[in-house]
């Protein structure tokens, strides 16, 4: 096995089994907030115990090891084809080892060949940069939270949402209401205002690469993030939809250009089992740094 493949198997293992530090911190904060002995507090306690157990046993935090999304920044001229081939082998290997569930199904035949490799699976997002380093980030996104994602086209008459920031606020909060606990809350929102139907969703997911505690450099978006977070946590949906103070752990929003005729707001929901990790790789494919 090449160094790169070994590194990518380790990236997958750690992403699947270990919650990132920033997310764990938010979960512990939520556990403190919830009333002791409530259903919400008991659910958060089980979640915290699960985090410790998964790490100790090197086993998946959640059995739905999700869609496998690679975000790779490469130096100019790097061989992306070889990276993708190696990553596919790493995915197969990680599946054999139980870091990933046999989780990829042929949509026409319903067949699951047990490898997690097929058309569009895993997914790769390659970007070249001027630097000399290779950075590979991985998000494993479960189906339960993916299913509660939503895309709105503004204006939306039912929600009285116009083509402005208040309209965006209304539809984002509607998505939180519709999701209830179904996406394994407390959740984290990744939102893209603008783009087209495909890029809107795609960019909304890049927001999950941000650290939970960071602040948006765009003042209007920062205000909207804080507002959505605070308002959502006043709705009383709570962990698992059991009721309680923590409906969301974080909100991350970006804006992308759109064509004049379209105004999409695309919302991706990430469950508490927020699996995101990243590595910086040296020239021989070994891990030099962890990014989160």
């Amino acid at each position: 096995m090449s160094n790169l493949q070994v590194s990518l198997v380790e990236l997958i293992r750690r992403t699947s089994a270990e919650i990132p530090e920033d997310v764990h911190k938010a979960i512990l904060h939520s556990l403190e907030q919830e009333k002791k002995g409530s259903l919400a507090s008991n659910a958060m306690a089980i979640i915290d115990q699960n985090i410790a157990l998964a790490r100790r046993k090197s086993q998946p935090l959640c059995q739905d090891t999700g869609s496998i999304l690679f975000y790779v920044h490469t130096p100019v001229g790097y061989d992306q084809i070889q990276f993708a081939d190696t990553a596919r082998e790493a995915v197969k290997e990680a599946t054999k080892k139980g870091f990933l569930r046999q989780n990829s199904v042929d949509s026409l035949t319903g067949r699951n060949d047990g490898t997690n490799v097929g058309i569009g699976a895993p997914a790769f997002h390659f970007h070249q940069h001027r630097g000399s380093e290779l950075e590979a980030r991985l998000v494993l996104k479960g189906g339960g939270c993916e299913n509660v994602g939503a895309q709105y086209s503004l204006p939306n008459e039912d929600l009285h949402a116009n083509r402005d920031l208040d309209g965006c606020r209304k539809v984002i909060l509607d998505a939180v209401l519709q999701a209830q606990g179904k996406g394994c809350g407390p959740g984290i929102l990744g939102v893209c205002i603008g783009g087209d139907r495909a890029t809107g969703y795609e960019l909304s997911k890049t927001q999950f690469l941000r650290r939970l505690e960071d602040r948006n450099p765009v003042p209007e978006l920062d205000a909207l993030e804080q507002d959505i977070l605070m308002t959502s946590n006043e709705l009383g949906i709570g962990p698992m939809g059991f009721g309680g103070k923590t409906t969301l752990l974080g909100v991350k929003i970006m804006a992308a250009n759109r064509v004049p005729a379209s105004f999409f707001v695309s919302i991706s929901y990430m469950c508490w089992a927020y699996r995101r990790q990243g590595v910086r790789l040296n020239a021989t494919g070994e891990i030099s740094d962890w990014l989160y």
Partner: protein, 205 residues
């Protein structure tokens, strides 16, 4: 029905012990918000199994859901050297996808409990009241805590047909924690929280 013994982890004094086979009176006595600790044999079944049964498919020999529980779960299973299975991750999957089918499976197969996450809709709620069944909400994503409560993987059915996550796994569980969120009195925690949160949102937009 006895209060649960206080043991390791999250089995608490206030938990109600449920042990297979479950009887109708015991199930009908449960109320929304009760925390339960489940013991005995349960069968997993999710999208493919529900659709199959809804379309008139027969349960494989050796599988009975009568007075039993179906668990909406697609576990991670590893085959051991001696050909037995080890359950390494086993949290609940989203239940609402089974809403078109669940009422019928409760009615026709005599289910007393459905374990899942995210809640279910009105048809399931009505079937729970009508036939004496409850919906038991496990903590979504808690795959390791819940896998630890699987004492033994007794058998697997439809592994070839549906693939590992969608197969019917026969699990012996011990002190498996869940919350009653739809009871047999026609009450649903999900309905209550949705109504309350909708009203709270209306004041804030």
């Amino acid at each position: 029905m006895q209060p649960g013994k206080s043991v390791t982890g999250f089995t608490k004094i206030s938990m109600i012990e449920l042990t297979f086979p479950f009887n109708e009176n015991q199930i009908r006595a449960l109320k929304v918000g009760d925390e339960v600790s489940i013991n005995g044999v349960v069968f997993t079944g999710r999208d493919a199994v529900h659709k199959y049964l809804h379309e008139g498919g027969q349960l494989p020999t050796g599988v009975s859901l009568r007075d039993g529980i179906i668990y909406h779960c697609g576990p991670v299973m590893l085959k051991q050297a001696d050909n037995t299975w080890k359950c390494t991750a086993a949290g609940p999957t989203t239940s609402i996808r089974e809403e078109p089918y669940q009422w019928q499976i409760i009615r026709d197969f005599g289910l007393r409990g459905v374990i899942g996450k995210g809640g279910m809709g009105e048809r399931t709620q009505v079937a729970c009241r009508e036939y004496g069944c409850v919906y038991l909400h496990a903590v979504g994503g808690a795959a390791q805590v819940l896998a630890e409560r699987v004492r033994q993987v007794r058998n697997v059915h439809f592994l070839e047909k549906f693939g590992a996550p969608e197969a019917i796994w026969e699990l012996e569980i011990v002190q498996f924690p869940a919350v009653v969120t739809i009871d047999a009195h026609g009450k649903s925690l999900h309905e209550e929280i949705l109504a309350r949160s909708r009203a709270a949102l209306a004041e804030r937009v």
